[in-house]
C-alpha cells in the first residue's frame, strides 16, 4: 500500500511536467491542425540551454526558465515564420508534419554537434533533497517542477481565456474562416501560437533536465510519450491533455513500482494502442475536440 501511494505521488508530480509539454503541443495542433513532432526536440533543446546556463554561468535551473522560455518563444515564432508559414496548397497539413519532423532532426543534429551523444543531466546542489511527509518521500525538484508546471498552465489558461490574443487563438481554432472575416490575422495567430507552444517546451525542458538524464536523441522517447498523451486527451483539448498527462504519469509510475521500470516505457505504447483501437477520439471524445 505504501509503495502504491508513493508511486501515485511520483506519477502525479511527473505527469504535471508532461502536462505542460503536452498543452503546448495541443495548442499548436488546435491552431494549425498539425501534430508538432518537434515538441520533444524543443524540450531537449530547453534542457541543454538550461544545462549550459547552469554549468557555464552558474544560473539556477529554475531561474533559467526566465531565460529559456522567452528565448524559445522567439525561436518558435522564427521557425513558424521561416518554415511553416511559406507552405501553401492542399497538402499543407502533411507538409507541415514533415517540416516539424525535419525541425526535430535539425535540432537533434545541432545538439549532437555541440554536446555529443553522452547522457548528461543538470545537478544543482539540492537535486537529491527530499521531504518526508507522512512517511512518503517527496523530492524537492519534482515538487517545485510540478508547482511550476501548474503555474505555467495557469498562465497559458489566462492568456487563452482572458486576453485579446487568446480570443483570437480560440476563434481561429474553432472557425478559421469566421476568425479571418472578423479581422483576426491567421498568420500572426499561428506564429505566436507556435511560439507559445515552444515556450511551454522550454519551461518543461528546464525541469526535465533535472529529473532525467538526456542526450540529443532523447526527443524520440519524449515525442512518443507526448503523442500518447495528446491522443489520449483527444487532440485539441488542453484540459484533456492535462488529464491525460496525469493519467499517464501515474500509470507508468505504478507499472514501474509494481512490475518493473523496464515496463514503464511500454505503458505508453500499450495505452496508445488501446486508445487508437477503442477510443480513437481520445478520452473526452469529439465534443471537446478542437475547442481548446
Amino acid at each position: 500500500m505504501h509503495a502504491l501511494i508513493q508511486a501515485i505521488i511520483l506519477g502525479i508530480l511527473t505527469g504535471g511536467v508532461y502536462a505542460l509539454m503536452a498543452s503546448g503541443q495541443t495548442l499548436i495542433f488546435g491552431i494549425m491542425k498539425v501534430v508538432n513532432l518537434a515538441q520533444g526536440a524543443l524540450v531537449v533543446l530547453g534542457a541543454y540551454l538550461t544545462y549550459t546556463l547552469f554549468t557555464t554561468l552558474g544560473i539556477d535551473p529554475f531561474v533559467s526558465i526566465l531565460i529559456t522560455t522567452p528565448l524559445l518563444f522567439l525561436v518558435g515564432i522564427g521557425l513558424q515564420w521561416a518554415l511553416l508559414r511559406p507552405l501553401h496548397g492542399e497538402d499543407v497539413a502533411q507538409l507541415s508534419l514533415l517540416v516539424t519532423f525535419a525541425i526535430a532532426l535539425a535540432i537533434e543534429g545541432a545538439l549532437s554537434f555541440a554536446y555529443g551523444a553522452t547522457l548528461t543531466n543538470v545537478q544543482p546542489t539540492y537535486a537529491n533533497y527530499s521531504w518526508t511527509v507522512f512517511g512518503y518521500q517527496i523530492s524537492l525538484v519534482r515538487f517545485v517542477a510540478f508547482l511550476l508546471s501548474i503555474v505555467m498552465l495557469g498562465v497559458l489558461y489566462f492568456i487563452l481565456q482572458r486576453t485579446k490574443f487568446g480570443r483570437s487563438v480560440r476563434a481561429t481554432v474553432q472557425n478559421p474562416m469566421s476568425a479571418q472575416l472578423l479581422g483576426v490575422n491567421a498568420n500572426r495567430v499561428s506564429a505566436l501560437g507556435f511560439g507559445l507552444g515552444a515556450a511551454t517546451a522550454a519551461a518543461a525542458g528546464s525541469v526535465f533536465g533535472m529529473l532525467n538524464s538526456f542526450n540529443p536523441g532523447s526527443h524520440y522517447d519524449l515525442i512518443s510519450r507526448l503523442l500518447t498523451i495528446v491522443v489520449l486527451g483527444g487532440l485539441g483539448s488542453i484540459g484533456g491533455s492535462v488529464v491525460a498527462a496525469l493519467i499517464m504519469g501515474v500509470a507508468s509510475s505504478l507499472v514501474s513500482a509494481l512490475a518493473s521500470p523496464i515496463w514503464s516505457d511500454f505503458t505508453f505504447f500499450i495505452v496508445l494502442l488501446l486508445v487508437l483501437l477503442l477510443r480513437p477520439r481520445g478520452l473526452f471524445g469529439a465534443k471537446t475536440r478542437g475547442a481548446l
Partner: protein
C-alpha cells in the same frame, strides 16, 4: 424604392471580376452595381459562384482581374481586416459562430478590430436590444443553440462594427418557416436603418420579396438584373426557383417537383 432614385449613390461596384480557386475560373466577368441603402438579392443555381462573389467583396478571395469598388475606392487588393474597417461585413453561408464560445463572446468577437472598450460595450448593448436572444442566452455556448437562434446571433455579431454593407450568404438555409420569416424581418430592418445588404438566397421567393433589386448569377456571370418584383414575374427565373439549370442533377430535380 432605393433603386428607383434618380441619382442613386453607388456604394459597391463589382466590375468585370474574374476569380477562382486553383486552376479554373469560377467568376468569368461579374458586373454588379449596388446602391446605398438597398437590399439586393443574388440568386442562381448551386455552384454558380454566388458565394464566390461575396468572397471577392469581403477579401476571402482576391479577384484575378476586374475591380471591386467600395465607396469609390478599389478594395480588390485589401485584406479582410482592412475591408472590415471600411464597413464591409460578411456573414458566410456555413455555420459561422465559434461553437465553444458563449453567445456573448461570439457577439463581442464581431468588434474584434475595435480597441475602444467603451464603444464595444455600447454596441453590445445596442445589438442585444435588437436581438433579444443575445441577452437571453448570453452565457450559453453558441454550439448549443438551434440553427435559427444561431442565425440571430450571427446577424447580431455582424452589426457590431455598425457596417455600411452587409454580405449575407443564404441566411435562411435550414431554418423552419418561423425562424426564416424572422430572419427576413431582420434583413428588412437592416435596410431601414440605412444599411446596404447584398443577399444571396436559395430561397428565391422570400429573397426577391424582401429585396429592392435582384440579379441572377449563372455560370459565373450576371445573366439578368431587375427589381425583385420583375424577377419574381420572369418565367425564366421561375424555372430557376425550382432549381433547374444547365446542370444535370438540378434538371431532374425540377422535373420531379
Amino acid at each position: 424604392m432605393a433603386a428607383k432614385n434618380s441619382t442613386p449613390e453607388l456604394i459597391l461596384q463589382i466590375s468585370e471580376v474574374t476569380a477562382g480557386y486553383g486552376a479554373g475560373l469560377i467568376l468569368k466577368g461579374v458586373n454588379l452595381d449596388v446602391a446605398r441603402g438597398e437590399i439586393i438579392c443574388l440568386i442562381g443555381p448551386n455552384g454558380a459562384g454566388k458565394s464566390t462573389v461575396l468572397k471577392t467583396v469581403s477579401g476571402l478571395l482576391r479577384p484575378r482581374s476586374g475591380a471591386v469598388m467600395f465607396r469609390g475606392e478599389n478594395i480588390s487588393a485589401l485584406t479582410s481586416r482592412e475591408r472590415l474597417s471600411r464597413g464591409v461585413v460578411h456573414v458566410p453561408q456555413d455555420r459561422s459562430l465559434f461553437p465553444a464560445m458563449t453567445v456573448w463572446e461570439n457577439v463581442a468577437m464581431g468588434a474584434f478590430i475595435l480597441s475602444d472598450q467603451a464603444l464595444l460595450r455600447r454596441r453590445l448593448a445596442e445589438v442585444a436590444e435588437l436581438f433579444p436572444i443575445v441577452a437571453k442566452r448570453r452565457s450559453a455556448s453558441a454550439g448549443s443553440l438551434s440553427g435559427g437562434e444561431q442565425k440571430q446571433v450571427e446577424l447580431a455579431r455582424s452589426l457590431m462594427l455598425d457596417p455600411a454593407l452587409i454580405l449575407l450568404d443564404e441566411p435562411s438555409i435550414g431554418l423552419d418557416p418561423r425562424a426564416r420569416s424572422s430572419v427576413f424581418a431582420s434583413i428588412s430592418k437592416l435596410a431601414e436603418d440605412g444599411r446596404t445588404v447584398l443577399l444571396v438566397e436559395q430561397n428565391a421567393r422570400s429573397g426577391l420579396a424582401v429585396a429592392h433589386r435582384a440579379a441572377v448569377l449563372e455560370a459565373g456571370v450576371v445573366a439578368l438584373t431587375g427589381t425583385g418584383q420583375e424577377l419574381l414575374n420572369d418565367p425564366e427565373v421561375a424555372r430557376l426557383y425550382l432549381g433547374a439549370s444547365a446542370r444535370g442533377p438540378a434538371e431532374t430535380l425540377a422535373k420531379s417537383v
